[in-house]
C-alpha cells in the first residue's frame, strides 16, 4: 500500500439542506411550484457536484408542518436524489424544524461525521416558508444558534408571498439581505433554482483568497440575480410603495 493511496482519500463533502414549509397555506400552486422547482434543480446540482474537483454535494430535505419529517434518513448524492413530492397540510412548526436541524447538524446521530469540520465544507441551508411559525420558534432557533455547523452555514430564505413572516426568516438567516420574497409561481421557481445553484457552486469551493465569507458571496450573487426576476423582491429592492399585495398564486 503506497503512501499515495487515492482510494483512501475521501472526497470533501458539502450538504445542501432544503427546509420546506408544508403547512396548510402552501396548498395548491405554492407547494406544486416548490416540488417542481426542486425536482428540476437537483440534476443541475448533480452536474455541479460531478464537475467540481473540490467537493461532492449531498442533499437533505426536511419538511415541516404540524410535525417534521426528513425525506430520507441520510443525505443523498445530488445526482442520485429522487425527489418525492411533498404535500401541504397542517400547522407551521418551524421551531421544531430548527431543533430537528440541530440534531442532524451534529456528529452523534446526525449527518456530520466530524466534530472539527475536517473533510467537510460548511453546509448550505435554504428555508422556504409562506407564513409564520405556530410553535415555539424562538426556543428552537436558540438551540440551533448554538450549533457550530449552523453558525458557519450559508443560510438563505425564500419568503413565499406577502403573508410570510420576514422577521422570522431574517432571524433564521441572520440578515434581511438573505431573505428573498417571491410573489408568483414563476419567481418562486426561478429563485429556488438560482439560490440552490449559487449556494452549491460557492459552498463547495475551497476557501478563496478574499475575505468575503461564502454567505456574503452567495447573498451578493442571489440579490444581483433577483433584480432580473419579475416578482422577486430583496431587502435592497423592496416592493413599490403603496402596493398592498401583488401576490399572484393562481
Amino acid at each position: 500500500m503506497g503512501l499515495l493511496d487515492n482510494e483512501s482519500i475521501p472526497r470533501r463533502k458539502m450538504i445542501l439542506f432544503f427546509v420546506i414549509d408544508t403547512s396548510g397555506s402552501m396548498v395548491g400552486s405554492k407547494i406544486g411550484s416548490v416540488n417542481d422547482a426542486i425536482e428540476n434543480v437537483l440534476p443541475m446540482i448533480g452536474e455541479i457536484s460531478d464537475e467540481n474537483p473540490d467537493a461532492e454535494i449531498n442533499v437533505a430535505a426536511l419538511e415541516f408542518s404540524t410535525e417534521t419529517r426528513w425525506l430520507y434518513d441520510e443525505p443523498k448524492g445530488a445526482k442520485d436524489f429522487i425527489w418525492q413530492k411533498v404535500e401541504a397540510d397542517g400547522l407551521t412548526s418551524l421551531g421544531e424544524a430548527c431543533e430537528e436541524l440541530n440534531k442532524k447538524l451534529s456528529r452523534s446521530g446526525g449527518f456530520m461525521p466530524t466534530s472539527s469540520g475536517s473533510g467537510y465544507f460548511a453546509p448550505a441551508i435554504i428555508l422556504l416558508s409562506d407564513g409564520g411559525p405556530t410553535d415555539n420558534f424562538e426556543g428552537g432557533l436558540k438551540v440551533l444558534q448554538g450549533n457550530s455547523w449552523y453558525k458557519s452555514a450559508i443560510k438563505i430564505a425564500i419568503a413565499i408571498g406577502d403573508d410570510a413572516d420576514k422577521d422570522v426568516l431574517k432571524q433564521f438567516t441572520g440578515s434581511s439581505e438573505a431573505v428573498i420574497t417571491v410573489h408568483n409561481i414563476d419567481a418562486l421557481k426561478k429563485m429556488i433554482r438560482i439560490i440552490a445553484i449559487t449556494s452549491s457552486q460557492i459552498g463547495s469551493k475551497s476557501t478563496s483568497a478574499t475575505d468575503a465569507t461564502k454567505q456574503e458571496q452567495v447573498i451578493d450573487k442571489v440579490n444581483e440575480a433577483a433584480a432580473d426576476v419579475a416578482g422577486a423582491e430583496t431587502a435592497a429592492a423592496p416592493a413599490p410603495a403603496g402596493t398592498d399585495s401583488y401576490d399572484e398564486w393562481d
Binding site: 503512501l3 499515495l4 482519500i9 430520507y72 418525492q84 466534530s115 473533510g119 460548511a122
Partner: protein, 413 residues
C-alpha cells in the same frame, strides 16, 4: 530516535500565485528530538503569513532548546515521573494551573509570542511592500500595513498570523503544545497493538476555516498542551497542518496515511521515504484539500522491522472492522428489501425507498470488493518486506481468505 518532515504549496495557492504559507521542521538526536509545524492564515489580511510561519518555527526551535536546557539545570525536573497530563484553559483545574510544569510551559509560550512579535515587527520595518504585494493585496490591507510602519507603537501580528504545533522529546520526558488547527497524532504500541490518538486537547473554536492563532490578542490563553515523564514514550508522533486532515478527515483515514508513511520509512529508509513524501504531498493537495500541506514526524527507529508488522496488523484490523460494518449494513438492507414484499403492491414512495435500498446494496458490494483487494495488497506488501529483509527465510503460509464478494460470505452462512 529519528525524524522526517516535508511541506508544499497547495494547489489553490499555485493557481492564485500565492506563496506557501506552511512551514515545518523536525530534527532528532539522543538528547533532544522535536517536530514543529506552522500554518499561515490564508485570508488577504494575513498577506505575510508565509514569513510569519517561517519565523515562528525558527523561534520555537530555539526557545524549546533553551527551555529544555533550563529544565536540565534545575534540581528537580518539572516533568519527572509525571503521568500523561493534558491541558486546555476551558477545563483546567486549580491544581493544574498552580503546578510548576504549567507555569514553566506558560513562560515558554509567552516567550515564543513576544519573540515572534519582535521578529515580525523587524521584518515589517526592514521589508517594503513587494511587487507581488502591491499587485495582489487589497488596498485597505496595504494601507493598514503602511500606516503601522509609520507608528512606532504599532504591532503587525495580523499581517503575519499563523498557527503552531510542536512535539519535543528528551530521554526522560516528552511534551507537545498547539495553538490553532492541524492535527497532532500519537502512535503507541501497547502489547503488540498499535493505538492512535490525538493527545493535545482539541479547541472547539478551531472549526472549518476558523482557527485560534498566535496573532490573537489572548494567544497565551489559547495554547493547549500535554506531557508525560513516567518513562512511556510514543512510537511515533505526526504533526500535520489542516491541509492533511481536510484531505483525509481527522480519524482513521488520517491514521492510516501516517501508518503508510511509517511503513515507507521501514521499507525504504528515511531518505527514500522523504522523497516519496515530498512527491506525494502536492498530489494529495491537488486531489483533495487544495491547501498547503506540511508533515513533521519524530519516531522511534529502534525496532522498525517489528513495528512495520504492527502497523500492517493495525491496518488489517481497520479493514476487518470495515468488512464487519459492511456485513451489518448489508444485512439491514437485505431485511429492508425483504420487508417490502412484492413491488407491484407498493406505492410510489415505497418504490423509491426500495430502489435506494437496492442501489445502496450495490454500493456495499463494491466497497466489499475494494476492501478485499486492499487486504490482499497488504498481505503481499508484508511478504515483500519479509523477503527483502530475510531472503533465505521460508515465510509462513497464511490461510488465504477467498471471501471476495459479500455473496461468498452469505453462501458460507
Amino acid at each position: 530516535m529519528n525524524s522526517i518532515y516535508s511541506y508544499c504549496k497547495g494547489e489553490s495557492h499555485i493557481l492564485s500565485e500565492k506563496p506557501c504559507q506552511d512551514y515545518a521542521y523536525a530534527a532528532s538526536s539522543d538528547t533532544l528530538s522535536m517536530a514543529i509545524v506552522s500554518d499561515g492564515h490564508g485570508g488577504e489580511r494575513y498577506f505575510r503569513s508565509d514569513h510569519g510561519s517561517h519565523l515562528l518555527v525558527d523561534i520555537t526551535k530555539e526557545s524549546v532548546r533553551s527551555f529544555v536546557e533550563t529544565i536540565a539545570e534545575q534540581k528537580e525536573c518539572i516533568f519527572e515521573e509525571q503521568p500523561f497530563t493534558q491541558y486546555i484553559k476551558k477545563t483546567a483545574t486549580d491544581s493544574q494551573v498552580n503546578s510548576k510544569a504549567h507555569k514553566m510551559l506558560m513562560w515558554l509560550f509567552s516567550s515564543i509570542i513576544s519573540q515572534w512579535n519582535v521578529a515580525i515587527a523587524k521584518h515589517a520595518i526592514e521589508n517594503d511592500l513587494t511587487e507581488w504585494e502591491l499587485t495582489h493585496v487589497e488596498e485597505k490591507y496595504r494601507d493598514e500595513f503602511l500606516n503601522k510602519r509609520n507608528d512606532p507603537e504599532a504591532t503587525f501580528e495580523k499581517t503575519y498570523g499563523c498557527t503552531l504545533m510542536a512535539y519535543v522529546q528528551t530521554p526522560t520526558y516528552w511534551f507537545a503544545f498547539q495553538i490553532g488547527d492541524g492535527k497532532l497524532v500519537r502512535m503507541n504500541i501497547i502489547n503488540e497493538v498499535l493505538h492512535c490518538d490525538q493527545p493535545v486537547p482539541w479547541d472547539s473554536r478551531c472549526f472549518l476555516n476558523k482557527t485560534t492563532s498566535i496573532c490573537d490578542s489572548n494567544a497565551l490563553e489559547e495554547f493547549r498542551y500535554c506531557y508525560q515523564g513516567d518513562g512511556i514514550f510514543p512510537t511515533a508522533i505526526f504533526l500535520g497542518s489542516d491541509g492533511l486532515d481536510d484531505s483525509y478527515g481527522d480519524g482513521e483515514q488520517l491514521y492510516n496515511f501516517y501508518a503508510n508513511l511509517f511503513k515507507q520509512i521501514a521499507k525504504s529508509g528515511k531518505e527514500e521515504a522523504y522523497n516519496v513524501l515530498k512527491r506525494s504531498l502536492p498530489k494529495i493537495s491537488k486531489i483533495a484539500s487544495k491547501d498547503d500541506m506540511s508533515v513533521a514526524c519524530v519516531y522511534d527507529d529502534s525496532n522498525l522491522e517489528h513495528d512495520f508488522h504492527t502497523m500492517c496488523n493495525y491496518q488489517r484490523d481497520l479493514l476487518q472492522k470495515e468488512r464487519e460494518k459492511l456485513l451489518d449494513v448489508n444485512s439491514i438492507l437485505g431485511q429492508k428489501i425483504d420487508s417490502y414484499g412484492s413491488e407491484s403492491t407498493l406505492d410510489e414512495s415505497a418504490k423509491i425507498n426500495l430502489l435506494y435500498a437496492r442501489k445502496d446494496q450495490e454500493k456495499v458490494d463494491k466497497k466489499w470488493e475494494k476492501v478485499y483487494k486492499k487486504l490482499k495488497e497488504l498481505d503481499k506488501e508484508e511478504d515483500r518486506f519479509d523477503k527483502k529483509l530475510h531472503p533465505q527465510k521460508i515465510t509462513k503460509q497464511v490461510k488465504k481468505d477467498k471471501t471476495k464478494t459479500l455473496s461468498d460470505i452469505l453462501k458460507k452462512k
